[in-house]
Symmetry: C2
Subunit: 369 residues, 2 copies
Amino acid sequence: MKTIAIVGSTGSIGETSLKVISKNKKKFKLIFLSAHRNYKKLIAQSKKYNPKNIFLTNEKFYKKIKSRKLIKVKNIFNNSNKIDYVISGASGYDALDLNIKLLKISKKLLIANKETIICGGDIFLNLAKKNNCKIIPIDSEHHCIDFFMNNFLQKKEIIKKIYLIASGGPFYEKQIKYNEKIKNVIKHPVWSMGKTISVNSSNFSNKVLEMFEAKILFNLPPEKIDILVERKSMVHAIIQLENNIFFPIVHYPKMEIAISNSLKIQFNENKNLDNISLNFSKPKNNKFPLVHLGHKILKKYSNSGMIIFTVFNERLVDLYLAKKIMYGDIVANLVKLFNKKTIIAKSKIKINSIKDIKSILNFAKNYKL
Amino acid sequence: MKTIAIVGSTGSIGETSLKVISKNKKKFKLIFLSAHRNYKKLIAQSKKYNPKNIFLTNEKFYKKIKSRKLIKVKNIFNNSNKIDYVISGASGYDALDLNIKLLKISKKLLIANKETIICGGDIFLNLAKKNNCKIIPIDSEHHCIDFFMNNFLQKKEIIKKIYLIASGGPFYEKQIKYNEKIKNVIKHPVWSMGKTISVNSSNFSNKVLEMFEAKILFNLPPEKIDILVERKSMVHAIIQLENNIFFPIVHYPKMEIAISNSLKIQFNENKNLDNISLNFSKPKNNKFPLVHLGHKILKKYSNSGMIIFTVFNERLVDLYLAKKIMYGDIVANLVKLFNKKTIIAKSKIKINSIKDIKSILNFAKNYKL
């Protein structure tokens, strides 16, 4: 029996994880569930899944429910024994601090948060090593590559290129309006996801973040990382070997698969590829200029550039979702910002410590967009 | 520098191999070229590629050119030093004897001859082990699976199923006429191949032979071996893991890739999957009844059943190509024959020795069709 805990249990990754675990009750002991603010849902989950304790990462809300003397509410970071699996469903670049804390209490940290990997970079990965914590990416693209590289590939050198596969989002075959409405933007063709990631999918910034993540996680040179579109989200990554054999990594688009796989439990599904059709294409640069920008940041700048892009993008998406800017402003601003001398200079700064990360994060968070 | 030799150098595999080797002259020393009868082409190849000696496996023709006192003509089986790579492009079930002899003079035997693997079965594989000879399949389907299993897969148990991919042949979307003309039958959509294998592709008997071959080579249970169609011959096999992740193994349809890969030399090709579309479908049982028959032989009978199918099919194709039977007679006869009690009884006989193989081969060769 393995111990397990979920941070962000009220989000989509948290809920999927609970579904997977509840189908394999005998294999797991649920140590805690935590959410950021949604204490109502957390309490409901607590009643249903009976974890040893629950926690809210937002201090105000934590105090609020703690004062209700619910016995089970306890600070998760005081956990003395390392937990076998901690699933971190926290989102955004602010999750970095939280995930650093989780390294200390986790043997394996399952993480779908691109921003933590991008902002934390090598510093985060080294901290994980120091804490004897294995990082397992559970977003489908990186999970597939990680699974292939860890289980099958002895020599990374035989990789010619990896392709992160994009669904293409709602506008791949349509014209994009500069003032596109939120409801059209978040209409993802395959996955049902949060609003921010849906916006990110629509203009390929999500795939740019994934390229950054791949560079850090797999330590590959920029020219070996690329993007292709497959509209059905059946293919998650393609590994091209030096001998020109390609391995598309394919599974039905279900979040359960990466989670089950990471927890080393069977995911039963009786499906095959009969009647499946897969079409690959490159996103056009003039329609999706962020792909080009992403490659440029990857090749020319340091991790600082990746962090700045990540924060700027998140801030711009927040502004769009708050109806303070138009849809087209997100991409237009990102492109414009990365032509500015200050931004380019900042993007080249080498990062050597958590302090350096914080400094770049602060710059990007406070820069007047 | 590795030593290399080609048996069947005048055929399509032989010619492709020579093309690959001649691009990598410094890496290989060409020990011999051999053909069955086509001495004119063999002599021309000898002049062009300058092997240490040449040989004809057909005795009559061998004597004929030997008597001409061409210095280089020498019996290849007297080769005292083991050759690093021997490429065997010999075809048909009669190639078994030849390939058994080659085990003794080869460190690695590259083989595209399904019939040898099927008829030789475990006996042939054990003989290879005894002779310290590694068998490398170079037909694209088995090569891809072999490559994946040998290089990447530690535990065969995690395989849920392997799919051998068929192009579907010339009639996949068309009606098949019982009296279809040879020129229509051998019009393969992708590969340019010999007549027999083209006929075999058109009615899926080729894929049935490949299922048999896969069972022997990879020692998988029959229910883990299946067929899917992908019309462009870009996908050669699919490995489905227990966790429901699929790995299609993809390369452009060029014989050079499997050969280069087996010889551990780089195959340079600047291609990617942009604008590639892959469609998978199951062949329909009522249109291609041999698929069903193949599964039945695989599940219910011993290797004898596979040998009998192989020989009957080859004999029937020969009759068709000699215009003695109609196209539809090939499949109709195979289905009818495998409903006969004698054939079923013979198909269940266990094979324990070369003698047993010869006995079944003789039965099948001489059975009145």
